[in-house]
Amino acid sequence: MEEEPRIGVFVCNCGINIGGVVNVEEVAEYATTLPNVVVSRSSLYTCSDRGQGMIKDDIDEFKLNRVIVASCSPRMHEPTFRKVIEEKGLNKYVFEQANLREHVSWVHSKQPEEATKKAKDLVRMAVAKARLLESLPQHLVDVKGEALVIGGGISGLTAAKSIADRGFKVHLVEKTPNFGGKMAQLYKVFPTFDDPQELLNPLVEDIMAHPNITPYLSAEIADIEGYIGNYRAIIREQTEEKEIEFGTIIVATGFNAYDPNGEFKYGKHQNILTAMELHQLMRADGPTQGNLVTPAEGKTPRSIALISCVGSRQNENTVPEGKKPNAYCSRVCCTGMIATGMEIKEKSPDADIFVLYRDLRTHGKGHEELFTEFRQTGSTMIRYTDDQLPMISSTQGAEYPLSVTSYDSLSGLNVEIPVDLVVLATGMIPDDSASNIASKLHITISADGFFQELHPKLAPLDSVTDGVYLAGTAQGPKDVPDSVSQSLGAAAKACAPMALGQVEVESTIAVIDEDFCTGCGVCQGSCEFSAIVFEERDEGKKVSKVIEALCKGCGTCGSSCPSAAITMLHFKDAQLDAMVKAALTPQAGEK
């Protein structure tokens, strides 16, 4: 905007909060002496209706094109006052706030003179910046009312169905030929012992028959690009490729079972199974029609050992050479193991069960009760320690094919258990596709290899990229209900922008002056959000370009540009420089 700045300054008493310390009248008076200030007033509560009304009237009366309120922290009321001037048709970015409460009156309450002096300085700084403020265009991006759900396990299915029911189109991509994921491979789900198929089948059928859902099976994402509201991807299903467009993404790529190869003699003897393998064995559609028999002998097992924390809570000393330890707890194995124990008891009541655990973490709804019930089956609990892992050896010709020896920290004894079957309660590891997806979507991966949420406490479903949301075990180990909750939640997150059809992206973004840009790409390296890309100009010159929708406006690129080609809107070098100069050299900031 070329027109001469006309600034209005409104100094707030905030009751006695500011006025009690700072001489507000004096500050307001002083403001009139500053360049381009055409009106300056004080008021008791500028945020009150009366105060706001005063600002509006003055905008009309004095044709203000900049407004400064000197009151509380902008983090408190900047949005309030921005709305006020917007109602008067001014752009919200021509507002500036000086913080006279949190940064002056409340922290210098014993020094009124200094406080007043500081208040004047802050107002002068605000004016210096305000003179250079400019209206910024509002950036709205349209959001396509379609979502991509990656992964067709219970999480992906749940998310897809909700979004579709909400009225948006969903592209559901599953890499295997079937929906249901890992849950479909289970025998029963704890602690209620429901048949997973009973829960899954109706859901899958709804999905297949849903008018809003396009299912892709045995499919993969060949390519994906874009930003919130405007993504494009190429899906490869069997042989044919299809290009689709969508606005939001839900990542539900799930988990893999930890591969215990090289640990606990796994793979060395047929009767040493992982929990997943045991589930297969116990299923009615398993190789033995659900008959629980030892793979080697085809006999009903008389004695079974269940070992927990296989692939969880590891450290360098507990994993074989060359294997990366998983430090985290896999969250479901303990209850899973106890549930398995109950199921074994149900199938062969005479079998003796030995549970080897470290801490028993039956933390979910009804889990502890299940554990209590299990203990009443007279099974043996053995608490091993991570410095003495249980040892398994196969005993040729003995009555029992296997023998487990372990230290029991509760009795302080070393125990030896002859068993027919050993079941390893293996933990969860991220799906193989995780790192690939992460780099494709510019989302981060946390130390444990699972996708990293935006905030571990309050934003567990958002990724660092707007429009990309996390569901289920892709974000970290969890059981079925927790996965479902997460995926329903992720669906809600995805529905929000699609329901509104548009999202406003902050206008305070970085812009690049292509004439200055030498195409060195330093800025691209400095951008955490991959918001800067190369663009080919004619005569083959490469220049950096900011993708507005991706830019979060931190300005880091600006300070890293060796050619000073990047301007950080609303926090321009000149604007900050003016503030500093005004702060330090009063006469420079005055008329």
Binding site: P177, M208, P215, G286, P287, Q289, G298
Partner: protein, 292 residues
């Protein structure tokens, strides 16, 4: 094309003769050579598996041994039940040598030995792999374009996939291709993979008919001209069972049901009479009209 040992099982010849007719007549046209098996017994019945593991396996092993004696390596059966039972037995006997040993001890009492070489295949899969979609297209002389078909693969053809080795997906089954090959359209409808309740018929009329009714309702919703299966038991349910359900619940469905081999037969120009389709309880007129 190599020869296959044909294991009909009990149900097909005794209760679904039209299936046997169709499979024999069509196989000639497709150049499939089936050799009869003699002195076979009940397959390797899952109904006994839950009672005694080794007995079941031994029965299966005996049938499989016969194939070896014939100097063949592949057994083909038109029945889903036989298919799963024998396929499973073959798999277990191949994967668990100790088990095979114990089974052979039992077989020795009837002077038989099973070496574990036989592969068990389902008729429909033989159509798909050996004959192939293209060949079938060629053989079709009747226009099925207008025909909307809901497939009914039957559980024991598909599951457990690990053992049956049949790639099955909610989205797509090889049967869809086989249907398309005839020129007809294969329609997705709910419950296409759900149990028909057939095996429960001897256990509880209540349950089996309740289940079947749900299936029929979903089929009806799919608005299809006829259902097509490859399983004699499914067929019995949807054909005979349909009548019983209609009577019991005082409802009318009139969902014609065909066996895939019969569909092929019709497509190849064989007449309903030749195929003995008159043995069906549910009238096929609507379908026959559409394709004539």
């Amino acid at each position: 094309m190599k020869d296959f040992a044909l294991y009909l099982g009990c149900l097909t010849p005794t209760r679904v003769p039209s299936y046997e007719v169709a499979l024999r007549k069509t196989s000639e046209k497709m150049g499939l050579r089936f050799i009869e098996m003699e002195n076979t017994t009940c397959c390797s019945p899952m109904s006994i598996l839950s009672l005694d593991y080794f007995t079941t396996l031994s029965i299966g092993a005996r049938n499989l041994a016969i194939v070896e004696e014939m100097g063949l390596d592949t057994m083909v059966t038109p029945c889903n039940g036989c298919f799963e039972g024998l396929k499973k037995a073959a798999a277990i006997l191949r994967n668990y040598p100790e088990t095979l040993e114990q089974v052979n001890e039992i077989l020795a009492t009837v002077d038989k030995e099973y070496k574990g070489t036989v592969e068990v295949r389902h008729l429909s899969k033989v159509y798909y792999d050996e004959v192939g979609v293209d060949k079938i297209k060629e053989l079709m002389v009747k226009p099925f374009d207008s025909l909307r078909i809901g497939i009914r693969p039957g559980c024991h053809l598909m599951k457990p996939t690990a053992i049956t080795g049949i790639d099955y997906s909610e989205r797509y089954v090889f049967l869809d291709d086989l249907i398309k090959a005839t020129g007809a359209e294969s329609v997705y409808y709910k419950h296409r993979f759900r149990c028909c309740g057939g095996l429960l018929r001897n256990v509880s009329e209540e349950v089996t008919e309740g289940m079947l009714r749900e299936r029929l309702i979903e089929l009806k919703k799919g608005d299809i001209d006829c259902a097509v299966t490859v399983c004699p038991l499914c067929f019995l349910q949807y054909d005979l069972g349909q009548k019983l359900v209609e009577r019991k619940f005082k409802e009318k469905y009139n969902i014609p049901i065909l066996i895939y081999s019969e569909l092929l037969g019709l497509g190849m120009g064989l007449s309903a009479e030749e195929l003995g389709l008159k043995t069906h309880r549910v009238k096929l007129d609507s379908v026959l009209e559409k394709i004539s």
